[in-house]
């Protein structure tokens, strides 16, 4: 089981690193929101793997909170970006798309 833990850790660390480069490079705020969502998924996988490795369920409530919070985060960023776009462009079609 510890070999599995090492493999999963390496894979998740690489995934997290690649995701971080996308968060840093952007270019738009929505790109960063999507990448942050993926980073959150990687973190959830890491916590769940830790719980599976040590057979210890202490961290499981954290997963429930993360599953809900990630959603709130990216929805609010999307709303913010949509409203900013509405005011900055002439908004030909957006009024009817709400």
């Amino acid at each position: 089981m510890s070999a599995v833990a090492v493999i999963v850790t390496v894979l998740l660390a690489a995934a997290g690193g690649l995701t971080l480069t996308r968060i840093i490079r952007g270019p738009s705020i929505l790109d960063r929101a999507v990448a942050t969502d993926v980073l959150l998924a990687v973190i959830v996988a890491a916590i769940a793997t830790e719980a599976a490795y040590s057979r210890d369920a202490t961290a499981l409530p954290v997963l429930v909170v993360l599953a809900v919070l990630g959603f709130v985060g990216s929805v609010s960023v999307a709303r913010f970006a949509a409203r900013r776009n509405d005011t900055s462009t002439s908004a030909t079609s957006d009024g009817s798309r709400r």
Binding site: D31, V34, V38, A52, A57, L63, A67, V75, S96
Partner: protein, 125 residues
């Protein structure tokens, strides 16, 4: 091979597959050309990857209380991920940099043009 070992092996396979999907999503995030294609990459660890990791975790923990919590995590994620994706996609579509040269067809642009036309029409009347 006892049942215990078999279940542990299954759990390991699930965990590694989930981690591989996360890695593929990371690679895709860096390599894909625009926001919408990157969102496809994001859906992968959020749905199948997450389910695999949760199944792996449940196979290791094997107690009722923990499994109910894991079921809840899965249900919440599956219910909320499409909403978030739809909000982001909708905020992105006409404004952000979409590589239209890579699109085979764009049937939404025609729809938005039609909606704008109808609005102008009703405003003029």
């Amino acid at each position: 091979m006892s049942l215990d070992v078999a279940v542990d092996v299954a759990a390991s396979i699930c965990l590694i597959a989930g981690a591989l999907l996360s890695l593929a999503a990371g690679i895709a995030l860096v390599r894909f050309p625009d926001l919408l294609t990157r969102m496809h990459a994001a859906a992968k660890p959020q749905v199948l990857g997450l389910l695999l990791v949760l199944v792996g975790c449940a196979l290791r923990l094997r107690t009722g209380v923990d499994i109910t919590t894991l079921v809840l995590v899965g249900a919440f994620s599956l219910a909320t991920a499409p909403v978030a994706a739809h909000m982001v996609g909708r905020a992105a579509y006409p404004h952000e940099d979409i590589r239209t040269d890579l699109l085979v067809t764009d049937e939404l642009a025609a729809h938005l043009d039609r909606v704008a036309e109808e609005r102008e029409h009703s405003a003029a009347a």
